[in-house]
């Protein structure tokens, strides 16, 4: 203990030193930024006053010297601005350093040296005036990996030049809040379980937390992997998949600093916007900002330029809330079929067949002459390079026709002028009237041409489903689902009403990408996909075309599906579709979120659940409570929520099967307790008590969870088992189920 006091003194002095250094740097950075801002205003002023700024002339031949002088002003201005942005970033990270400079330290002795060096590890690095004086290392730096991967004893880390070996004789972890060292302790093994347990038993904050202090060895391997182009992670509920995905994004950014990877080159595809908000806190805290985060429907909208698309949540809602088994079966089959390999093959055949049967080439006339023959054009397109997208081939055709038109136009306008001068009373402004006539006839002409050079994907897709005979001909040799007749009829009916369901939007997006291409950012270098089990083969086909050169990190859990059953073959499929050179599948089966008891209870809903290990943390056994009337059910829920609030749980989730159920329950409760309804994407933080439908709750967590209403009517099928698994595993500390009526046979 005496030793501890002595060490504490040393550590406190060191902390003070670091903080005062950071403060010094902060104040000098603040002064520089003020100066920079003044500089920027000054250069703007100079540019305005001292240059001739006749911008329209800058492009002309004579204006070249103006362009040069303009450039002389613009260059320092843009330099100043980027310097200012850099300083703003620095200030932001220094402010964080002052609050909590580091969370760990190792003593590391390089093999060719005699003394141990103290390596402090923090969320961002702190360097001295000269860049080689490093006081605190970024958690993503190579040497920091030693902390995550080794206990005391021999250790090594990878650097670009090879391996650095050495020895560790101390691993120490700190809890520093607002510049105060609360406590520290040493460990010789992995990140100390006690430390982790203490962190885990804390209540959730409104947003996801960073886990840099507690990254485990297997997690660290995923985060720091640079070998594989395709990294797939199958992780049990609560195993930290999402955290890992985000930390990996942060790590890749850090790695990319040398290879010019900017944050805009990373895109995270998340299940819903609620989730997007939830994770938004993590990345800036990790040190990176503005990593693009989208939901898949955003990509659809960008590809199709259509905002009227059924969202996945709407689809799930109508699927889950339907009591008609036959109808549900058809909806599921339709979704499954239209996103399958089989349908993809049909669509590919359809694209092949477009120029032959569905594009109406027409003879094009200009100035009384035929300038493009329909048979020749068709032959040209059919014989064209198949590796070029059809839409682009057609566009080239359009250009080549227009080139002929442009050549002929002068003589055409002359003819028109002569005609007007001779035959009308506009002889004085014949030129203008000739131009008007030319504009009119050119408008007609271009519309004629575009009838076959522009593909109307929606119209073509409608035709595919309108003509059953044709559909079956295309599908020859392909296995179709039993209820294909009904699927075709329903789709045709939907499309006639211009109702674009989720699965049709998916197919349309695929068609569009495969014919017209898409100008979604081709520079994306890293794609992180969360909840991958929600997607189908066609999703990945689209991603492959959108981000052809990107590396992928794919996180999922085959047990957390909603409308389908998945197994590990999902990852084989993904691997086959994306066809990357190096890929790996990693399984994380340790759950950090739930208590032992909750995990044990939840895993009975899935097969192979026994493999999931819990990070031993004790709690209460989940209870199942019966109510004898619906009003008693409401009372029980209120009582439980009040108890949770009294216990100090910050977030309480009342999970219902469908959105409809959630709304009904909300109406019953809203006047009696303070509660919020999560519907669509309307909530920005998760502090308080919420009612939420299961499919929206995926990926989120609550201190306490109440499931309502767990009766036979609501939960009775195989798919419902998955829903129960998802709902139960949202709970950190407390889980209780309530029902009215006959108890669900699944419980």
């Amino acid at each position: 203990m005496k030793n501890y006091q002595q060490e504490l003194g040393i550590e406190n002095r060191h902390l003070e030193q670091m903080i005062s250094m950071a403060k010094e740097q902060l104040s000098s950075a603040k002064i520089s930024i003020e100066k920079k801002e003044a500089d920027i205003i000054l250069s703007k002023k100079e540019m305005w006053e001292d240059s001739t700024h006749s911008f329209s002339n800058l492009y002309s031949f004579q204006g070249f010297h103006e362009l040069v002088s303009f450039n002389q002003f613009a260059k320092p201005l843009s330099d100043n601005i980027s310097e200012q942005e850099r300083l703003a970033d620095k200030i932001w990270s220094l402010e964080n350093v002052i609050k909590s400079p580091y969370f760990a330290r190792i003593n590391f002795k390089f093999d060719d040296e005699d003394t141990y060096e103290k390596i402090y590890i923090g969320r961002t690095s702190l360097t001295g005036e000269k860049a080689y004086d490093i006081y605190i290392y970024d958690w993503r730096s190579p040497i920091a990996s030693v902390f995550y991967r080794f206990g005391t004893g021999k250790a090594f880390y990878e650097v670009p030049g090879g391996k650095v070996t050495g020895e560790v004789n101390l691993k120490r972890q700190y809890e520093i809040n607002n510049g105060n060292l609360e406590y520290f302790f040493d460990s010789d093994i992995q990140i100390v379980d006690e430390f982790l347990r203490k962190l885990l038993s804390g209540n959730t904050s409104a947003k996801m937390k960073t886990i840099v202090e507690t990254i485990q060895k297997d997690q660290d391997l995923v985060i720091r992997d640079m070998e594989n182009d395709l990294m797939m992670v199958q992780g049990a509920a609560g195993s930290g998949k999402t955290s890992i995905g985000l930390h990996r994004a942060a790590y890749l950014m850090y790695k990319g600093l040398t290879s010019k990877l900017s944050s805009n080159n990373i895109i995270i595809i998340s299940p819903n916007t609620l989730f997007e908000e939830y994770i938004s806190n993590v990345l800036p805290e990790l040190g990176e900002r503005n990593v693009g985060s989208v939901i898949f429907e955003d990509l659809f909208r960008r590809i199709l330029q259509n905002t009227q698309i059924q969202t996945r949540n709407q689809l799930l809602e109508s699927l889950i809330s339907s009591n008609d088994n036959k109808r549900r079966f058809i909806m599921k089959s339709s979704m499954e079929f239209k996103a399958s390999f089989q349908f993809k093959e049909i669509l590919n055949r359809f694209i092949q067949d477009l120029p032959r049967n569905w594009i109406d080439f027409n003879d094009i006339y200009y100035d009384g002459k035929i300038i493009a023959d329909r048979q020749l054009m068709k032959t040209r397109i059919l014989a064209g390079d198949k590796t070029t997208l059809l839409g682009l081939r057609l566009q080239k055709l359009e250009y080549s026709i227009l080139e002929i038109v442009h050549e002929l136009r002068k003589s055409r306008i002359k003819k028109l002028e002569e005609f007007i001068a001779k035959n009308t009373d506009h002889s004085f402004d014949a030129k203008e009237f000739a131009r008007l006539l030319s504009i009119d006839e050119s408008t007609v002409l271009i519309n004629e041409i575009r009838k076959f050079t522009r593909l109307n994907i929606m119209k073509l897709y409608k035709r595919l489903f309108h003509d059953k005979k044709y559909f079956y001909r295309l599908a020859q040799g392909i296995k179709l689902p039993e209820c294909i007749e009904i699927i075709i009829d329903e789709t045709s009916k939907n499309l006639k009403r211009d109702h674009l369901s989720y699965e049709d939007a998916l197919a349309l997006a695929f068609l569009n990408v495969k014919t017209n291409g898409c100008d979604v950012d081709k520079n994306i270098k890293q794609v992180v996909i969360d909840e991958a089990q929600d997607y189908y083969p066609l999703h990945f086909e689209i991603l492959k075309d959108l981000f052809p050169v990107a590396r992928y990190t794919i996180l999922g859990d085959i047990n957390q599906t909603i409308e389908k059953q998945e197994d590990l073959s999902l990852y084989d499929q993904i691997c086959k579709i994306l066809c990357k050179e190096k890929s790996v599948l990693i399984t994380l089966d340790k759950s950090y979120r739930c208590t032992n008891e909750i995990l044990e209870y939840s895993t009975k809903f899935i097969s192979g659940g026994s493999k999931i290990k819990s990070f031993s943390r004790k709690g209460e056994v989940p209870g199942v409570y019966e109510a004898f009337s619906s009003s008693e059910l409401t009372n029980m829920l209120i009582k439980e929520i009040q108890l949770c609030n009294k216990t100090g749980y910050r977030s309480v989730g009342l999970i219902c099967k469908t959105e409809k159920d959630a709304i009904r329950l909300y109406d019953q409760l809203k006047d009696r307790i303070h509660i919020r309804l999560v519907k669509g994407d309307s909530v920005e933080d998760l502090n308080g008590t919420f009612i939420i439908p299961v499919c929206m709750s995926k990926g989120l967590e609550f201190d306490a969870v109440l499931i309502c209403n767990a009766n036979k009517k609501h939960f009775n099928t195989e798919d419902d088992k998955n829903l129960l698994y998802i709902a139960c595993t949202r709970a950190l500390h407390r889980l209780n189920l309530f029902y009215f009526g006959e108890i669900s046979p699944l419980l």
């Binding site: 329209s56 492009y59 227009l402 402004d429 203008e432 009237f433 504009i439 408008t443 271009i446």
Partner: protein, 95 residues
Amino acid sequence: MVSESVAKILADIIEADYEEVNPETELTNDNGIERIDVAKLMIECEKKYKITIFDEDVHTFKCVGDIAKYIEEILSEDAKSAVSSDEEREAWYYK
């Protein structure tokens, strides 16, 4: 900048005050703009900027700003090819 010039040219053609025409002004009868005025505007813009406006593109112009954007695109493409062409740059130096 281009949009202001185009607006001015149009105002001259339809004999309106300069303040009455702006980039948002739609090319419709309601604003006193006849189809023949559009034709005239095309001719004048071509003269001023020494460019060609293709007649099949004219139907896409809904307002003054659309025309300005079209012209700016042509100009910037010309500028790009002008800068990248070494011959031309040399021609400027040794004039």
